[in-house]
Amino acid sequence: MSQNIDRSESFMSLSDGEAMENTSLILASAQQLERWKYTKSSDVLELFLDTNVGEENTVITNAESSSIHVSDSGLKIEEIGRESPIAAFGLRKFEKINKIQIDGNLEEPVTLKQRGQPLPLLIEINDNASCQLHEFVDCEADAAVMTWIKMGKNSSLVHSRNSFRETGKHWQVTFNELESGASYTMHNHVKGSETKRQDILINLTGSESNAKVISAGTVNKDKKLDLQIICDHSTPRTTSHQRIDHVAFENGSTTFNGRIHILEHASGCNAQLKNRSLAMGSETTINAKPELEIYNDDVQCSHGSTIGQIDETQLFYMRSRGIEQKEAHAILCEGFLRETISGPLSASATSNLIPER
């Protein structure tokens, strides 16, 4: 692996093109030279280059609670560190970020609406704090949405995210760092767009931390969805659970790449990944690749990925009961996504993801 990549020190003085090249290289090396097979990194990195960022593009409600602190922090690239090249790239472009800090146990969910090109957002959850985050990503045009979540010891976060825009190119990157005993759950509901790439990068840095990602996605005609999840078990007794379902309609394309890394000293880890994709029309493209990289013998892991087509016997059974083909498709789609449309935003997810009957 190449180590002589400029990581941050002189990052600010590079030209856009050089910085982009640099970031692509760091990403490639961070991902074990696994080139971004499905969405070219340059495609998404370009989203950072000519966008008009606006602080007002992030709307946070329920901010009046005394446990929430909202600011635009003067975070430095050096603070973001070597592990988050994309964050460094975004920060270089935007020079500042929004920050939410949670230092108590919030009863009411924090609601976050992202529009236009929002600033990168840092969410810090202090030790022992807990909250629910309802995130609505609603960017009409091309946008890169970056969220960096740092979770303190024994903190907990239930993060529900709905992202249903079908126009424009979108890149949504979430970095999560979990200290010991922290618990993160994500309910992700997403519709493909011209290009929609979601990266969820989870680093279980503290022992006994755990992360769960449940994601339901649908892709309509000529749209694309690319979901990349990397889960790093860097410490002992950490657990991760990924449950990902995708449905591609006619001419739609979906990609799922789920990686689990278990490092050498990380004994007693448990990592589960289950992914299912369903083709519900002709000319669909489905890529699915679960990957395990394990350097420790004392682990429990399972991963499975299945790709299926609409079941003609099920379809005929429904039609023989008088149900129109279009409606039968909608019912089968809803049945397929039943396990992964989940959490507090599931009602609107159902109405947005399932085709009209």
Partner: protein
């Protein structure tokens, strides 16, 4: 007016590039108020007949007409035939995980009503009606919440078919081996369901291998299907004769 009228029906299926004739000049007529039974050796074309009438894709009609309530079915979509009032009880009911039985029944019933320009039944009335039919079939209410046929035993699946029939109230029910795999008590329960369904305006076609069903649901006609055509028709006594002699004597 007859409910179902089939004349000179020949049907091919294609397997690995080879065309095969499965129904060969079949003729059958069912009038309102009648119960017919079709018996016949394995592979003789009984299920094929039911599938062709229900318009399952994959069968190509070479000749003949299929009329249901005076409408030509030959080119219809499966849902259109169902909306017109035909019901097929499957020999092998299909599992649909993730879709609850109740939700499926409601979608079916609403579709049929809509096609007939009728208002959908209110959810509460519908659920009440379905629950009472389920208990008349000794089906626990829990089956209504489960995925369609998901993990049901063979006999439970068959009872679930009868449940659907009673909910949808078709004009003609084709029941393909609904009695196979039922224990003695379940056979009685299912038979009671079919008898409760029968009236002077509707019809039933029972496909079966066993004479015993016909003790409970007494048919007006019994037909023997062999090699894609009906080779013998008679009354209930034909079934008894088949039971003692087998099919060979008919050839």
């Amino acid at each position: 007016m007859s409910l179902l009228s089939i004349d000179n029906l020949s049907v091919n299926v294609e397997t690995s590039g080879e065309e095969r004739t499965v129904l060969n000049g079949l003729k059958l007529q069912i009038n309102p108020g009648e119960v017919h039974a079709i018996m016949g050796p394995n592979g003789s074309g009984k299920s094929t007949l039911a599938h062709v009438v229900a318009r399952k894709p994959g069968y190509s009609i070479q000749s003949g007409v299929v009329l249901f309530k005076n409408q030509l079915l030959n080119e219809m979509e499966p849902e259109e035939v169902a909306q017109l009032g035909l019901f097929l009880g499957f020999q092998y009911p299909v599992e649909i995980p993730g879709v609850s039985n109740m939700e499926f029944l409601k979608a079916s019933s609403d579709s049929v009503n809509k096609a007939r320009s009728k208002e959908p039944e209110s959810t509460t009335d519908f659920m009440k009606r379905v629950r009472s039919i389920a208990s008349s079939l000794d089906l626990d209410q829990e089956f209504l919440k489960r995925g369609v046929n998901e993990g049901f035993s063979g006999g439970e699946k068959k009872r679930n078919e009868i449940l659907q029939m009673l909910v949808l109230k078709p004009d003609l029910a084709l029941l393909d081996e609904t009695d196979s795999g039922l224990d003695i008590d379940a056979l009685k329960t299912v038979s009671n369901g079919v008898n409760a369904f029968r009236d002077s305006s509707n019809g039933v076609l029972l496909i079966t291998h066993y004479q015993r069903l016909l003790d409970y649901v007494v048919p007006d006609f019994v037909h023997v299907l062999s090699e894609g055509r009906i080779i013998q028709s008679g009354d209930k006594s034909l079934a008894l004769e088949l039971e003692s002699k087998g099919y060979a004597w008919l050839k």
